[in-house]
Symmetry: C2
Subunit: 387 residues, 2 copies
């Protein structure tokens, strides 16, 4: 039965709490640890910085802290959250290329030592607000192969990264490394190859200028298994290792920023059917309206389609179903353009479950669009006690 | 000077509070009242229900309550907010066609008497949870002419609305009226005409079945003056009145659900430049990164472009500028595809102001994507004391 695909900890929580108001996500912290360990084993040659943005819950940060994780942070607010949890500044990597001057100052005071940048103005701020810090220049990528490209706003070309690292040294900073990100939910292990080759070129050019790099940050993007044919993490680690070796880059400190891979599979989203309706205007007229939608957790559904299961999957004929959220807004259609195969007997009050919902759901929730509160989150597993 | 376009109350607040952390919105409650009065005067023949979703701040609800407004609510959470503010249930209209059974029950207990629906299943829930309530069947529209269409998820055709109202009577509800919504930021006054004609047809058919309608809810959608050529509200009231008269519908109670029109112009969004960067990958390579973006207030910017002004507008050459938000996400580009004319001397720390930012900004904010807090809001004007 499909429902059995939900892991034991999450299923047990759901069954013990039938009265909880939906929608909510249950996160199994044991699965978080399991994903972490598998990643660490596959990338034994790298240092891993969990990317808070995927799911910044205290419970997850403390679970990963206990595993020895470092953390990739995107804002001063994430830094303050880590500091408040007893994670020292030197374990943090300020990975956003767009930082307020005062936020750099504060981060530096907290002991944050490494910063990413991709422009002269950011460099000027860093030189002044974080003198002698370790800086990484961000290289652009195409984002090809990724469900959620991260290329458009960030990163320079080879010449620009080279020049920025030269300038960094002149301005009293430590030109520590190069960083890039191939895009989130990246399905092609090959995607890293081109950037590694480019980084090797830049490194060689810098060497002739007397600048020795120490690290290469190859970003995150490692995919969650939303689809059955998602390559295993070992495929990525091996392909990347081969590329690093062939370009003589394995002597550098290799840095990873996993997010989605660590938390997605740990989360189950539970929702309730509010309405089933024949929508005569639609090519697919069978519509099911849920209490979760793009404004309270499923912002990513335009690019990332979660598997949806119900208790009725094995006892009713399935039919093409459009899923929509609960708000008075036409944009609030889940995975617009896609239909889900769902039982034709679904009715209001029925529960539906979305698998792999631990990443980029709760944090993307709106604060109260249409009055609906942000998506709630509960924690199970042996690390759930952390708060 | 462009900066003088900011109204006195908002400008005075901004100038008296130079140290406030950006981004934030300042709402002038006097302007809210002014918009309300102008709307009421133009639509002297209608009853106005302020649509909370545009901006559900307590200060705004209490300002409008003092003006005698009714309220259009989209969720049980909005109902509970109104009740907590002393707004009685009978002043509320539950305008969402997608409601949980338990939420209908609770609303009915609070004294909410009128409900919108557009499907047989919703009718079944209403008949059971809110017996004898006044119900409105929602008619579909094309959404043509609107910046933000609301047609895809909601509303039936003429036959379906007719049949639903017949069924409503059979199931012990009061078939009170017909509702429709021509889409948000609707620039064509003509857009209402077709729906009024259709509603008249349905009404005539119902009459032959012995059902007498009492009301016509013509929705909201009245535009804010984001652009200079936006038609005045009087153009809408006159065109709509002419249509109502020509179809013999003026004897019905006419109901309006304004949102954006009431609050948009009352709000100024103040933001800070974080970074200016040459983005060689972009057709328009001059990029300015702000501390506000699509995840903390500007979700609508894909369809609704706010006017952006700065202190430097009159003293620097202007240039094509791409605006982007502060998060590590490529989606976070403001009004993607559009360039803003901004001074080439902008640098980090400079303030920028977005006009007409009082609607659909704060409530669309994410709860903490990348750690950034939801967009803050302050209130000025003589009604600002309400909380």
């Amino acid at each position: 039965m499909k429902y059995q695909q939900i892991n034991d900890n999450n299923r047990s929580f759901i069954e013990k709490n039938p009265e909880l108001t939906t929608p909510f996500v249950v996160i199994d912290t044991d699965e978080v640890v399991c994903n972490w360990q598998r990643l660490k084993q596959a990338f034994s040659y790298a240092q891993c910085f969990y990317s808070l943005k995927a799911n910044p819950a205290n419970e997850i940060l403390l679970t990963l802290k206990a595993q020895g994780s470092y953390f990739d942070v995107a804002s001063i607010y994430e830094i303050e959250q880590c500091i408040a949890l007893g994670i020292p500044g030197k374990y943090l990597h300020y990975g956003n290329t767009i930082k307020k001057y005062s936020d750099i100052q504060t981060a530096f005071k907290y002991g944050v030592q490494s910063f990413i940048f991709d422009s002269q103005m950011e460099l000027d701020k860093l030189a002044k607000a974080a003198p002698n810090a370790k800086v990484y220049a961000r290289m652009a990528t195409t984002g090809q192969g990724a469900a959620w490209s991260l290329s458009e706003k960030f990163g320079g070309d080879i010449d620009s990264v080279f020049n920025l690292l030269i300038a960094a040294k002149k301005q009293g900073l430590q030109p520590w490394g190069i960083s890039f990100h191939v895009g989130s939910q990246q399905l092609l292990a090959e995607a890293w190859k081109k950037s590694i080759a480019e980084a090797a070129q830049i490194r060689a050019r810098l060497q002739t200028e007397g600048i020795k790099l120490h690290a290469l940050n190859i970003g995150g993007g490692f995919p969650a298994a939303y689809q059955n044919n998602t390559p295993d993490i070992e495929v990525f680690s091996q392909t990347i290792k081969a590329a690093l070796l062939s370009h003589g880059m394995m002597d550098l400190q290799i840095i990873l920023e996993p997010g989605r891979y660590i938390v997605a599979s740990a989360g189950i989203l539970q929702s309730e059917v509010i309405l089933v309706r024949h929508n005569e205007k639609s090519i697919h007229p069978h519509w099911v309206y849920l209490d979760v939608g793009v404004y309270n957790g499923l912002t990513e559904s335009c690019a990332i389609i979660l598997q949806v299961i119900t208790h009725k999957d094995d006892c009713s004929p399935m039919m093409d179903t459009v899923l929509a959220g609960p708000t008075c807004d036409s944009v609030d259609i889940i995975a617009k353009g896609h239909t889900f195969q769902l039982p034709n007997s679904l009715t209001y009050g029925d529960r539906v479950f979305m698998l792999n919902a631990g990443a980029y759901t709760t944090s993307y929730s709106t604060v109260n669009f249409n009055g609906f509160p942000p998506l709630k989150q509960y924690f199970v597993g042996q690390y759930a006690k952390y708060k």
